[in-house]
């Protein structure tokens, strides 16, 4: 595909859209009035503080959560209008990579990657074998096919999970903290894989991450979620140049700023009995 083609695609309708979405658990509201659109064929990075609402966005897209108000649109179709069959069909177009891989511990690496193929297709064993080995090859783990999840390292487990996520050639892949807890080599392997798959398969990718440096290397578009709102969005370069204090604190990794260092407490004087109160 030429870059002109890619421009054409990104100019078309976004794959996912969140319109005025408010969402939470029970009484607690996590996201408030969020508007977001995920451009087709690009890598979108969701960064932000812990508990700020990034994983909630992924859950909304995968329909594990429903918005209290607002709409979540997949290819222009409001997901609230889909029945159970429709939801399952929508999920088959998505692949999700969970934080630590979430591999099925009783199945081998091969069986894990073959799982979606076995559940959703009627392909012959021979075809399944070839497909699984191709996916494993794409992530560099074709030789590890017979290992069990307990026998592979954390980074390898995540690569297997990635192979499983792309088994059905989805249109959208969501990555929940793909870089958390990885050594520098594995981290760069993961980042390369995300970028290469995005180009090779023409999928849309959403990456939720804390790691500013790696993420900015691969993202086309960055969205900063904080306190249940979108605090800022733009290209990585724009984010680095931003003047917003919250974005600055995050990007520069400063200990204190809009996100306070001290947990709310009574004044120091009161706790240590210093001053006129005695």
């Amino acid at each position: 595909m030429t870059s002109a083609h890619l421009e054409l695609i990104s100019a078309s309708k976004p794959l996912i859209e969140l319109r005025n979405v408010t969402c939470g658990y029970g009484e607690r509201v996590i996201l408030e009035n969020v508007n977001l659109s995920v451009p087709r064929g690009k890598v979108l990075a969701l960064i932000g503080t812990s508990g700020g609402g990034k994983t909630t966005v992924l859950r909304l897209i995968g329909r594990q959560l429903q918005p209290m108000t607002g709409q979540v649109l997949l290819d222009g179709v409001d997901m609230a209008t889909l029945d159970a069959q429709g939801i399952y069909a929508a999920r088959r177009r998505m692949g999700m990579l969970f934080q630590f891989g979430a591999l099925f511990t009783d199945l081998s690496v091969f069986e894990n990657v073959a799982f979606p193929l076995r559940e959703h297709t009627n392909l012959s064993e021979l075809m399944i074998r070839d497909l699984v080995l191709m996916k494993l090859n794409a992530v560099g783990l074709r030789g590890a096919r017979d290992l069990l999840p307990s026998e592979v390292s954390g980074g390898m487990a995540r690569r297997v999970a990635l192979a499983r996520a792309i088994a059905l050639d989805p249109d959208l892949i969501m990555y929940d903290e793909p870089f958390a807890g990885l050594d520098p080599i594995s981290m760069s392997v993961a980042a390369t894989l995300i970028k290469d798959l995005n180009h090779a398969l023409g999928v849309t990718s959403i990456v939720v991450s804390h790691d500013v440096d790696e993420t900015f290397l691969i993202a086309d578009h960055v969205v900063f979620v904080a306190n249940g709102r979108i605090a800022a969005q733009g290209t990585p370069a724009e984010m680095r140049a931003s003047e917003d204090p919250l974005v600055r604190q995050f990007v520069d990794g400063l200990a204190d700023g809009p996100v306070r260092f001290h947990y709310p407490a009574v004044p120091v004087a009161e706790d240590f009995g210093v001053g006129a109160s005695r």
């Binding site: 969970f98 934080q99 979430a102 511990t105 799982f115 559940e119």
Partner: protein, 260 residues
């Protein structure tokens, strides 16, 4: 929880009812999935191996020792009334009617029930169930239902093995060790144990216990908090609830089946 606070009591009653309702819905769902589950018999076979075959050793050894004790205790009591020859009948009836189904169910709850709860709980904690949902595979159908039906099949078989081994254990103590006449041992037993009323009812009991114990184990695992503490609390709850349920149901079933 403050028992004097009506709002708190009301809330806890309401959430208790909601839990019961959810549990009932899951039970009905598992029953309704019988056709789909047996269509993928390989999953059931795998689970039958983990629940049934793996429990055989504890069941057989326990059955043997229970048979030994029954014969011994039975002999001591019966010989006072000159009825020592009826010890075979005593051992067989005790096992087939009560001890076989009940003790097997309690052992099953402890061994297979806890492993089921822990397995499902850990799958939940490791986001495997969520991953399955995201892959558009229903975890109830793929993970819970095969385990449920495998447990239901395994229990009566294990109870029968327990009773049979117990009878043999009773024979070992009564005939070679104590010296009861082998002929009377078997003939008294055969004269007193009825196939449909005793053995049949025992099989029905163990099937009911199979439903109960497996369901409780799966429910606790599926609904636990996805943390290590949550899983361990759920495992304890499985054993306690399943044991109490088995004993209570035993009373109800015995009253229904063996009434005079």
């Amino acid at each position: 929880m403050n028992w004097l606070n009506p709002a708190a009591v009301g809330l806890s009653v309401r959430s208790g009812l909601a839990d019961i309702g959810e549990g009932a819905r899951l039970f009905v769902r598992l029953i309704a999935l019988v056709g789909a589950t047996f269509g993928r018999i390989r999953l059931v076979v795998d689970q039958l191996f983990f629940l049934g075959n793996r429990s055989l050793s504890i069941i057989t050894v326990s059955g043997l020792f229970v048979g030994f004790v029954l014969a011994l205790q039975g002999y001591y009591t019966l010989q006072r009334y000159g009825s020592a020859e009826a010890v075979g009948l005593l051992v067989a009836l005790s096992l087939v009617r009560e001890l076989g189904p009940v003790v097997t169910a309690l052992l099953f709850a402890g061994r297979a029930g806890t492993s089921l709860t822990a397995e499902i709980g850990l799958m939940k904690a490791g986001e495997q169930l969520a991953a399955m949902e995201m892959m558009a595979v229903d975890p109830v159908k793929r993970v819970l239902a095969p385990r449920f039906w495998a447990g239901v099949i395994a229990m009566p078989l294990l109870a029968a093995v327990f009773s049979a081994v117990g009878v043999l254990g009773g024979w070992i103590v009564a005939v070679p060790l104590i010296g009861i006449d082998p002929g009377s041992f078997w003939s008294q037993m055969q004269g007193g144990v009825s196939v449909w009323a005793d053995v049949g009812n025992g099989v029905i009991k163990s099937a009911v216990f199979g439903f109960t114990v497996t369901f409780i184990a799966l429910l606790q695992g599926y609904g636990c908090k996805p943390t290590p503490e949550g899983v361990s609390a759920a495992t304890t709850r499985t054993v306690v609830m399943a044991s109490l349920a088995v004993l209570a149901l035993d009373f109800v079933l015995t009253a229904m089946m063996f009434s005079i």
